[in-house]
Structure formats: C-alpha cells, structure tokens
Assembly symmetry: C4
Homo-oligomer: 241 residues x 4
C-alpha cells in the first residue's frame, strides 16, 4: 500500500543521513498522500543501515497506524499537527543537525545574512517559544506541533519552510519529502555560515530586504528564472532561451 | 576464550574510529563478562588498520592479563575501577574526541542545553577534579578511576553515562560496548553543539528541567516510548501500536 | 561544438563539488574560448549527480545561448561582465563555500594573515559594495559584474583572482576553469584559517608586506621557482636543477 | 638508488593527504639516509593524484639534486637546515593544516591544555620570530631553517617535535618520515582542541606540569609503558604482562 510514497520517504530519510545531518538513529522524514489522508514516516529508533522502504510506517491523521510492523517515529504527532495546519506541505524532515540545533538551543532565530539564506527562506528562520511544564505533561509531541503552528500565524509555510523548536532543533518541510530534506541541507549550511559570519564581523547587519526578496523571488516567485522547470520565464529574457 | 565478547569489543573499537572520534592509535573500548569477572580490552598502541578481534586482550579485575599476546591499553586500570564501582556497566569507551575533550581541557561540565543532550544524559555531563601530583605519582591510571567514582557519589552511572576527566578527555559507558560507543558519539555531538550554541547566544540558559526529564524518560524511563523494544508502552497510546 | 572546452568546464564544476565547496545545485563554473567569444557554463539548477559534459551550455558575450538544451546558470550575466572586463581570465568559479561566504556576508575583506594566502592572492581579498535597490531592480546579475569590475579599478585581476560579493559569496577566476576552482579551494582554506587565527589571537596583525610579496612572487612572479613549469628559474639556483 | 627511502617518503606524503592536512599541491615530507647524507623529498608543485615513489627527489646536504627528474620542494633548504642541526631527526613533514596554521598566523605558541598534547609534545609548541625583510631577501628558505634552530636553542627537538613558523605554518619531525606525519596529525588535533577549549573556557589554565610530564614520559620516557615495543617496562607492573 502506497509503495511509491514509502519509497520516496525512505530515500529522503537516507539522504538526511547521506548529507551528514543525522547520527545514530536521530532524525525522521515523512511524506503525505493528501488524497488518502495517510502519511508514511520513519520507524522509531531503527538504524539507517538496516532500514528499507517497506519499513516505513503508514499512519492516518488521527495518529493511528494503518500499516507497518514497527512503531512510527515518536515525533509523529508533531508531523501530523503540521500536515493538518499547512495544506501545501507534502513532506517534513526533522534532524538534530549541528548548527541549526545550536540556534534552536540558543532560542535565537537565524537572521538572513546573505543570498544563500534568501534563496531558500523568505526572511529569518523563526524560533518557537518554549513549551510550559503543563504542555509537556499534557501531550508533548502534539503540543510541539501546536507551538509551531502558533509561530506561523502570520507566516506563509512554503515561503519559510523551516522552524526552530526552542531547546530542541529544526523542522523543515516542502512540497515533497525530498524538498524537505533539501531545505534541511540548506538550513544547516545557512546556520553554520551565520555563526561564522558573526565571528568575522560581530556587528554584521541583515541582508537588505530588496536583496532578500530578489533572491527568493528569482528562485520561487511566479516569474522565477533559476533552474529549468519554471514555465513562466519569458523566452526573450537573456540569458534564458 | 570469550570470543563473542572479544568480537563485540573489537567492533566497538572499530566503530569509535568509524565515527571519527579517534585518530592514530588513540582511544580504547572494553567490555566485561560479569559472570567470569573478565574484561576484553583493546591492546595498547596498536593501529586500527591492523587490529582484529583475536587481538583483544583478556584481563581480570585485578589487572592481570588472562589471555592475549599484546599488552592491554595503558588505561586498563581506569576501566577496572569503573567496572568495580558501577555494577550495571557492561562496556566502556574512551576517546579524545575533539569537542568533548575541549570541555575536559576547559575543566567545565557540559551543560544540558537541548533535547539531544537530554535524550542521552539525565543532566549536565560532570567533570572530575584534577589529580594531585601525589596521586599521579602513586598510581596514575587507577587513581583516575577513583576520582571518577568520587564524582559519581550522588549520580546514577547509567543515567549519566559519561564523565569528563579534567585536563584529559571523556569516558563513556553503557550496558554494552556498543552502547558505550553510541554514548560517545552522542556526547561529541552534544559538546560541539554546546560550543556553537554559546556562539549563537552567549547568555543561553539551560534547558528547563521538565523538558530535560521528559526527553530522558521518554527514551530511558520505565514507560519509555522511543524506539521499538520497550514492552511497557501502553497499547492504547497513539501513535504506538 | 567546443567539446574540449565543455569537457574542461564540466570537470571543473565536478571538482567544485568534490572539494566540498558546493551543496545541492549551488555553484557554477564557466570557461571561455577567447578566439570565438563563446563561453561554456553550467546549466541552471541541474544536479551534480546527473550532469555530463554535453550539458554545459554555450553562450556568447551578449548572453545569447548558442548551443544547449538547458538554460544557463542564472549568474551568466555576472560571468560575462567579468570576461569582458578582465582579458586575461579564462575561467570563473562561483560557490557559496562556507567560510568565504561568511566573509562576504560580513562584508569584510579577507586580510592576508599568512603565506598560504600570499601563495595565491597578492594582498587582501576585496569585497564589493552592496548593490542599491535600484541596481537590483534594473538588472541584478549584470550589475553584480559591474560592482566587481568597479572594485578592481586599481587591482590586477590575475594577482588577486577572487572577490567577495557583499551579502552573497565569493567569485574566483584564473587563466583556466581548473585554475579558477583551485583558487576557490585556496580561498576557502584561507578564509577558514583567518577566522580561526582571530580566535587564537584577536589582535593579530597582517603578514608583513615583504613576506607577502616574497611568497606571491616565488610562485607567480617572472622568476618563480615553485612548481615545475617555470622556465625562468636560473639553473644555478639551488635546490632547483 | 635509495628506493626504500623514496618509498617511505612517498607513503608519508600520501598519508599527509589522507589525513586531510593538505589540499591541492601544498605540503611536503622528506626523509634522510644519515649514512649517505642524502634526503628524499617531494617534488615541487606535483599533484598527489599523479605522484609515485620514483618521483621523490634525492638531494644532498648542500641542496644539490643527486637524482630525480623533478625539481625538489621549494622548502628543501628549510628541511636541510633542520637535518643539519637536529641529528636525531630522520623525517620532516610540512603542511598548512588549518588549526596549526591558525596558531602560526596568530604568532602564538600552542599551550599544553591536556594530555593529548602531552602525549606528543613535552611542553607548549613554540613559535619562531618573524624573519626580517633583509633575511627574506637574502635566502628565504634557508633562513627559515635558521630561525627554527634558533628557537630550539634550549629545547630538545625529539621532545618537542614541532614548531610554528610565524605567519606561515607548522613543521613537524620525528625519527622517521611516518613519525613526522603522525606528529603533524596529533599537532593539528591539539591545535583545534586548544581553540575549542578557549571557547568553552576563556580563562583556561595550562595542564599542571606533573600531569604533562607523566603523560609524555609514560609514552616516550625510558620507562614508557604505552604501546607494545618498549623493552624497559618491568614485567611485574600490572596491567602489562
């Protein structure tokens, strides 16, 4: 059932490992089939060496396991909360990657200091508030989803496809599981460069907004002209054919 | 004799190398057979390229070599002291991994700044005092074990399965040699992130205690629900089956 | 058409990846055939795994695609501006490599702190000014070329074969695409060491000018005696034959 | 001629690359046959990919090439000066490895902050003075050797088998080319940890001298008991056989 989705989610999980974002059994990626309301997600605590596509667990939006011999990732309720709140999202990746996690632990948003950031995130990468003791006790993983959604009250999820959970680490998403992983790769690079930039210049200022918008839009806007697949690029525009 | 234990210890030593925690001939892992009172440990100063499972040296709890053509690790007396004091420990790993060693050299405990830390260590990773000149002269490696045990007077070794020896480096342990190595991998990641977190926010505060406990217990407590093997998870709890 | 140039440019792009300077689809290298006035450049947004030499796009100095099924890199107008202004340049590499980009984001030139730097760059690596909102709107990528050329008004491009675009990242060049990539490799190492040097000594001073010149000239001057190919080394000079 | 020495020197050069200490064509290792007064050294500016053992150049102690089709490393006069001044040295390695070079650029000695350092260097790793403009002009590479020897006026070269050339980088040595490379590997690790230690504790103090001596001597002293080959270990000493 949903073998194609399981395969995509499996590959995205392996890419998370391949890019050096996870160690041991940390990290998880999921993907959703919106028509069926079912997500495929990494099993909990299974090693990357032994994991195969059929090991992905199928779960419905109430958190009930639909298929699979393993328990799903313990972060499954967080994924579900995001799929419910962000309709355009098709894949979610969570890794304790070093530098993005450092910002999450610091409870500091990642400022937009350059065009690498702007190529992926249309503004600073936001950080949630800390959960209260009461929320942790009530339903920890689901409430983690709640504070992320709360933080995005005035943000467009697909324009800022990442968040830092205070004291925990980043969660990234995208239209597909593969895109979620790519956003995590970019986030980690951007976080590391932000720390090194501050070492090179402790009084560095944010990238001017007009440069931020330009880079985000040349890659993601309706008239994007980065990459190959956007049909909206006018043929007369040099250097595109 | 004890070939299965030697194999486990050999693999754990190779994993220490594979995870980038050691260079040259640094580092050593041991494992114990409690019923026989014998430990298997890496030979001293032998290169990882040439080492094989039969090269592991068998030593009793008085430090006498029981079997093996090589001299055991010069840190053997430290391992023995820990096995004697910590009955639940089945494996010990020692590596001069970069960031954990930086904290040991700094003689600073590693504060718990996030859930990655809390997933493995139920509080800050403690640091020993420095040995006195007299202690170093008397019996250096055994006394190193003594100050570790002294530091754990009010700590549960399997809840905080790592220590920093001041001016030296970390020692990690676990129920098995493999678990000791996994704890070293986690410790190194946690140490690096602690330094980067302080660069991102020099006034960062420790993770709230209720979050620290939650993460430690969801993975290690009697009602743990991370991973696959804990039988104590109630079947009704979503998203576990 | 120009298969040899495409092959060189393809290999240089792959080397950029191999040296860890790029992730995902970031980065691009081009090379020029001066006699034909045509450059070969990486296609936009194509993955390194799938890219082959015939995928390189041929573009003329007006930015018109001469051959190729893909759109050329969106940074093509920047490359063209540099080829037009710097006649000795045969290859250009652009990567968002971590530490050089940190300096670009910091809008700080990379000071010459040691002989590794002096072996490649005859002085500090300069940084451009920021583009104005008006310039970004008018013709972003071409104007990026303009501010680089502006910054080199009193610099010799082949003596300082790199620049930092403020808020963006480095661009390197050389007599060939391969040399442009080697300069990027050296720049990244030099940038990382500059940050670590400042951590080791926050009041570090620039390398004395006489040492800077000596190192640059022993490798690049008319009487260079580093490497094998310079014919100008006097035979009597020991230790060269 | 001297094929065995060439083979050793070749392998040591390749190990320098394998351990990530050099990039591009940076770095060089030599070894000496004391009975013949001839050293084998890496050719200048030749890539590691193409280099083979027969490419090593044989040079006498006056710097005259005895055999080889390539020019020897441009740093050959520095190597010769060290072989002449330090009779016990059999191999020399020079790499612009990142963190050791950062200290050299900072013109700061590497303090002994822990036992990893003490396992290899019997005290801080010293830094030379800067060469004067006059010395650079007169005979740069040979004078580099002179200031190293000057710095070791009151140091035993085989107890502190490394030096930092101010503004340049480290040079390491040992009884063999392989040992010189191992010392470079250890130096780089020690340098990186020194920087990270200062981040973890800006007011860190040097390792107590009694711990420094203990570690150096248990590995290198007449009664060393680290490793397998020292015959001086008393048989009665536990845990050695």
């Amino acid at each position: 059932m949903l073998n194609e989705l399981k395969e995509q989610v499996f590959r995205a999980n392996m890419d998370l490992m391949k890019h050096g974002l996870v160690i041991l059994t940390f990290g998880n990626v999921s993907g959703i089939d919106r028509s069926k309301g079912i997500l495929a997600i990494k099993p909990s605590g299974v090693s990357y060496e032994k994991m195969r596509a059929p090991d992905m667990v199928l779960v419905d939006l109430e958190g009930k396991v639909v298929e699979g011999k393993w328990s799903p990732s313990s972060d499954t309720p967080t994924h579900i909360a995001l799929y419910k709140a962000f309709p355009g999202v098709g894949g979610i990746a969570h890794a304790h990657s070093e530098y993005a996690t450092a910002f999450a632990q610091a409870a500091k948003e990642i400022p937009c200091l350059g065009t690498t950031h702007a190529d992926h995130f249309n503004g600073p990468v936001p950080v949630t508030r800390f959960l209260s003791a009461k929320e942790v006790k009530a339903d920890y993983e689901a409430r983690t989803g709640v504070i992320i959604v709360e933080r995005f009250a005035r943000l467009e999820p697909l324009e800022t496809p990442a968040v830092l959970i205070a004291g925990h680490g980043p969660i990234c998403w995208g239209r597909t599981p593969a895109e979620a992983v790519r956003n995590n790769v970019a986030l980690e690079r951007v976080a590391k460069m932000a720390i090194m930039t501050a070492l090179a210049n402790p009084t560095v200022k944010d990238l001017p907004t007009y440069l931020l918008r330009k880079h985000f839009l040349r890659k993601h806007g309706p008239r994007a002209y980065y990459g190959q697949s956007e049909p909206s690029i006018p043929k007369t525009r040099s250097p595109k054919k």
